[in-house]
């Protein structure tokens, strides 16, 4: 295999056992048809296990809303200057869902241009966010993870951390076209983990990324804070995906409202005012 930064990580037995339970057709090279690499995935999850179980204090609620089989789309808000939110979602459906699933994100296209990131994203099933890729994965009954805010969302500062910015509409058209249920989720605490004060766009352009977040301690390293991940009931929309934009925008707003509602619940949980058990019993 190619030189990989994850290579030295010894795979944890728990990760090994869960990898074996993933519903992915591995071939004799330990690869799936999209080039996802079982061993690299195992090393990645071993690293992620540390952050999910120890580094951050993660509270996950509503995981029962995530279908254990078949196509589905996890749709949520961005919180934190870079993909900490995505990593925690991937970790939650791998470590806490029975049986485990691999959430496949629609990665920012700039990642494909960066050495090592390009290699890592393609071996870990996090493909560039293109409608063709998304459609193919959904038709293959995979679990897709979408952040409709895109890079606008990760660029939120500490003061905007629990707000929502403009949603793209592509995800909803794809859900209509492929008959995919949308599972809304909220991620709360990412803004506290990476408290962005400002984003340096010129430095970013120079490095080949959209921007570089700056925190009070300068580097955008995440702090070991309490983060909350709340999944909501699946939403189904009937349609073809060829509807006029104003129709689709209306449905996108429905999803956005649900996510805003889940963010409020997540904040309550994070402040200790709402017990996760109360949320679980509510439905």
């Amino acid at each position: 295999m190619a030189f990989s930064l994850l290579r030295p990580i010894p795979v944890s037995p728990r990760v090994r056992a869960r990898i074996e339970r993933l519903e992915i057709p591995w071939n004799r090279y330990g690869l799936d048809p999209y080039g996802i690499d079982r061993e690299e995935l195992a090393r990645f999850f071993t690293l992620l296990e540390f952050f999910y179980e120890r580094y951050f204090r993660v509270t996950t609620a509503g995981l029962r809303h995530v279908p254990t089989r078949g196509r589905a789309m996890l749709v949520g808000n961005h919180s934190g200057g870079w993909a900490v939110d995505a990593l925690m979602v991937i970790a939650s459906v791998f470590f806490d869902l029975e049986p485990p699933r691999l959430a496949q994100g629609m990665a920012e296209k700039f990642l494909e241009r960066l050495p090592f990131f390009a290699q890592a994203t393609s071996r870990l099933g996090q493909f560039p966010g293109l409608p063709d890729n998304a459609r193919r994965l959904l038709e293959d009954d995979r679990l897709l993870m979408v952040f409709p805010e895109g890079a606008r969302g990760t660029a939120k500062t500490f003061f905007e951390r629990d707000g929502l910015v403009r949603f793209g509409t592509g995800f909803l058209r794809l859900a209509l076209e492929t008959g995919t249920p949308i599972v809304p989720f909220a991620f709360v605490g990412g803004g506290e983990a990476i408290p962005t004060i400002t984003n340096l766009e010129r430095l970013g352009r120079w490095l080949g990324v959209p921007y570089v977040p700056v925190t009070p301690y300068l580097l955008p390293l995440p702090l070991p804070v309490h983060v909350v991940l709340v999944y909501g009931e699946p939403m189904r929309f009937e349609g073809t995906g060829r509807e006029a934009d104003d129709v689709v925008v209306g449905w996108v707003d429905d999803v956005k409202r649900r996510i805003a509602d889940l963010i409020r619940k997540g904040r309550e949980i994070r402040r200790g005012r709402l017990a996760v058990s109360a949320l679980e019993e509510a439905r």
């Binding site: 295999m1 190619a2 030189f3 071939n27 004799r28 090279y29 690869l31 799936d32 048809p33 999209y34 080039g35 690499d37 296209k109 494909e112 241009r113 960066l114 050495p115 090592f116 990131f117 390009a118 290699q119 393609s122 071996r123 493909f127 560039p128 293109l130 063709d132 890729n133 193919r136």
Partner: protein, 311 residues
């Protein structure tokens, strides 16, 4: 059927001609290169496809089908010659096919038509446009030949024209850019990138051409075999020494110090995948590959053992 095969004396041309002859077709090959003692059922005419003697073959033989394989890459020809052979040659043989009542035409093209780019979909369908003409100028004449050949679908609607975009082939003949790349003393990769490569056995590729001919396909079809694998795995399985090089330095090393000879534009193909969806072809022909990847790579490795390996 009586089939004219252009480019018949090349490694891949011979494999396809044998496959067709084996299937009971009569093959008349055209090539500027000789093929001494071709097997029974195959006749070779020494001619340039752009010249009059080539047309004479069509006039004299009245073939039922044309398999056009006389396209060339940077490996053997310079820029000017490439565009003359790939474009003017394709134009000439399509004209002959039209003039002399050939019913079926197969253009044997390449999946690199789609080009590698960071923002390209992982699996290309036949509708996708060529993306890398500006980053990989050495492909431009092949892309143009592919599109030109496809225009025969409306220019000569009476001919069943079929464009095949076949993935990289590998096998005992050592044909093709991939084999050439892997045969170097040092096989360069781009540090931090490991794109998927799609490879099929050369025999399977030839079987696909024969199958397209028999089914009288019309339109554009991707042809693929086993699922793609990362370049690093391919190089390792082929027993070659992969040397990861940072991207800015790599173009300066190509063709030197034992590194594979590649055009500068090929570097992007070592960073990003070109992978095609071959479903349309499989659905239309029922084609199934015979050689899996380990067999395919082993066939190449057996014919071209790595340096220093026990033979």
């Amino acid at each position: 059927m009586k089939v004219v095969v252009t480019g018949v004396s090349g490694k891949m041309g011979r494999i396809v001609a044998r496959e067709l002859a084996g299937a009971g077709h009569r093959v008349v090959g055209i090539d500027v290169r000789p093929w001494p003692d071709p097997p029974p059922g195959i006749e070779v005419v020494l001619a340039d496809i752009r010249k009059r003697p080539a047309e004479d073959v069509f006039r004299r033989e009245r073939p039922d089908a044309l398999v056009h394989m006389a396209t060339v890459t940077y490996l053997t020809h310079g820029r000017e010659a490439r565009s003359r052979i790939n474009l003017v040659g394709t134009q000439a043989v399509l004209e002959h096919a039209h003039t002399h009542g050939v019913g079926r035409v197969i253009f044997v093209g390449r999946h690199t038509y789609y080009g590698a780019a960071p923002d390209a979909p992982l699996y290309h369908t036949e509708e996708d446009p060529p993306l890398a003409v500006h980053t990989y100028p050495e492909l431009a004449d092949l892309v143009a030949a592919d599109l030109y050949a496809a225009s025969a679908l409306w220019r000569h609607p009476e001919i069943d024209t079929c464009i095949l975009r076949i993935v990289y082939v590998l096998g005992p003949s050592g044909h093709g850019p991939l084999a050439s790349y892997l045969s170097a003393r040092r096989v360069p990769t781009v540090l931090g990138y490991d794109p998927l490569f799609q490879v099929m056995h050369e025999r399977d590729a030839a079987r696909a051409v024969a199958s397209a001919l028999e089914h009288g396909l019309r339109g554009v079809f991707n042809v693929s075999g086993p699922a793609p694998i990362p370049l690093s795995v391919l190089i390792e399985e082929a027993g070659r020494p992969a040397v990861p090089v940072p991207e800015p330095i790599l173009p300066r090393l190509l063709g030197r110090f034992g590194f594979s000879r590649l055009p500068r534009g090929a570097v992007v193909h070592l960073q990003h995948p070109v992978v095609v969806d071959g479903r349309r072809f499989r659905d239309a022909t029922g084609f199934r590959y015979e050689y899996d990847l380990p067999e395919t790579i082993a066939a190449f490795r057996g014919a071209f053992p790595p340096e220093g390996a026990a033979t």
